[in-house]
Amino acid sequence: MAEALLSLAGVNTHIGQYHILQGVDFEVPRAGLTMLLGRNGAGKTTTLRTVMGLWQASAGAIRYDGAEITRRTTPERARLGIAYVPENMGIFAGLTVRENVLLAARSGPPEDRRLEWIFRLFPALQKFWHAHAGNLSGGQKQMLAIARAIVEPRRLVLVDEPTKGLAPSIIANMIEAFRELKRTETSLLVVEQNFHFARSVGDTVAVMDSGRIVHAGRMADLAADDALQQKLLGLSLQAHQ
């Protein structure tokens, strides 16, 4: 079996006096989309931020593409090919859509083909290319945040709650966009509360509770097992249709 792209082994994270991650172990395969599920406060966002280096792990090891990155800085991790879309999207509101995207393209202006591909995924970005990002709607901001993460090919994209607060029609577009992303070389690790979205795009799943991984496996298996959903998440996926 091929080595995982990302693996966490016994990762602990403290934020001030709070012990949030309490020995997280899980892996993200080299292809496909891994969903990270769990109740509020389970430690999902902290896991993404720890992988990105925005919070330092106090114990344990994070390996990415065969190398340990536990002590690497956030910019170093980004330069290794990890992109991050935070829960608040992290849009630079005072910059235009174009400037937001150009800034994310570290190696220079993005290729036309890449931009055309992004515009096919998110046509609104082309329409509002020269508009200030602060004026975009919530859904458009989310599109911009994801576009920024993929403006250059990345090995791993971390996305925190991409459907939060979005209208159903926009969520349907997001599902299409994530399916398209899965056809590329990029692996995705997505934190999500929307189980319909999770089931629609997830290949593998890890479920967190109280700062630990309590379940890992195939998304299809979890989606088919109401009892397991009830046990792990408190509600079945069926209840979220």
Binding site: G90, L95, L103, A124, M143, I170
Partner: protein, 333 residues
């Protein structure tokens, strides 16, 4: 994918800019003659430009890294002393009635002021500020302490006395426009201030470096997540801001025609008023705020000298009542 309804167009916020002519026109009825008003207005704009040079770095440093640098005044003082030393050493060139000869003294003086203030800024960031990132209380304490130490070092190196600094011959005196006397040096200060503002505007709005700085002021964590080392960027901005303060310092010393160790510390209150009026982290706001403060100080200095500083505090209060985050607030994530 549906893009929804059209976005509202991003419009330039003209209202704060209108405050500058509004204050100038509001002062007009109280000034006894038009030539006096013209003289005061030019003096106010010149003072504002010099304040802008001193404050621009401070606002960017605060915006980028949330650093409360109360020691920014030492960069002004050190710049003023370095420039003064060079100018006094080149007295014959200063006194010559030739612009070329004067410039041969002024240019090295300005470069020396900016270089020494920039170097001090680099040293200060590494030694004083870096250990206290993220802790405002400690920042205030150590930067105030640093300011006192550098002030005492200035006493040791240059002595405790005020050093007179005559202006170069070609920028001394006034010329008459209509009936108004306009000091040559003030016109020069306005031109230099405009040039500095234009350069900063171009860098911030037309270069990738500027894009990074603007993004970093809004959300430094996201800039790091995109793969940029914000710390390196910050050191660069800190050094450039210190160098600009040095330039402001030498210009201020020439404006006052003397220099003393407290020159920077005396400016700090005004600089913070400007930063708060403009919106912390906003260079455009800093520019408008500095001009407002310069005009207000000159008009009230003429009409009611004892109210000069108080009038700027009142101006700040009024601006904050109107816009609680300053004239051009920077959206922070």
């Amino acid at each position: 994918m549906s893009s929804g309804s059209s976005l509202p167009a991003q419009r330039l916020d003209w209202l704060p800019l209108a405050l500058i002519p509004a204050i100038a026109l509001a002062a007009l009825p109280f000034i006894p003659s038009l030539p006096t008003w013209v003289t005061l207005t030019v003096a106010g704009l010149a003072m504002g430009m010099m304040i802008f040079m001193m404050a621009a770095g401070l606002t960017l440093v605060f915006g980028l890294m949330d650093i409360m640098n109360f020691a920014h005044g030492v960069f002004i003082s050190v710049g003023a002393y370095a420039g003064t030393t060079v100018l006094l050493a080149m007295k014959p060139s200063m006194q010559a009635d030739s612009l070329a000869a004067n410039l041969s003294a002024i240019v090295p003086a300005v470069l020396a002021a900016m270089a020494l203030a920039g170097f001090l800024g680099w040293f200060f960031e590494r030694v004083v500020i870096r250990p206290v990132y993220g802790d405002h209380l400690k920042q205030i304490l150590v930067t105030m302490g640093g300011l006192i130490v550098v002030e005492q070092l200035i006493h040791v190196v240059w002595g405790p006395d005020i050093i007179p600094l005559p202006r170069p011959a070609t920028i001394t005196g006034s010329f008459i426009v209509g009936d108004a006397a306009i000091e040559r040096y003030r016109v020069l200060a306005v031109l230099v201030g405009l040039a500095v503002f234009a350069a900063m505007w171009l860098i911030l709005n037309r270069t990738r470096l500027g894009l990074l700085i603007r993004a970093g002021v809004e959300n430094r964590e996201m800039v790091e997540s995109l793969g940029y080392r914000i710390r390196t960027l910050f050191v660069g901005v800190f050094v450039a801001g210190s160098a600009l303060a040095g330039l402001g310092g030498v210009m201020w010393a020439l404006y006052q025609e003397s220099v003393n160790a407290q020159i920077g510390m005396q400016m700090m209150v005004v600089l913070f008023i400007v930063l708060i009026i403009g919106g912390l982290g906003s260079v455009g706001g800093c520019f408008v705020g500095a001009l407002l403060v310069g005009l207000m100080a000159n008009y009230t200095g003429y009409l009611a000298p004892k109210l000069a500083l108080g009038s700027n505090i009142l101006l700040m209060v009024l601006v904050l009542l109107w816009r609680p985050r300053g004239l051009f607030p920077v959206g922070k994530a």
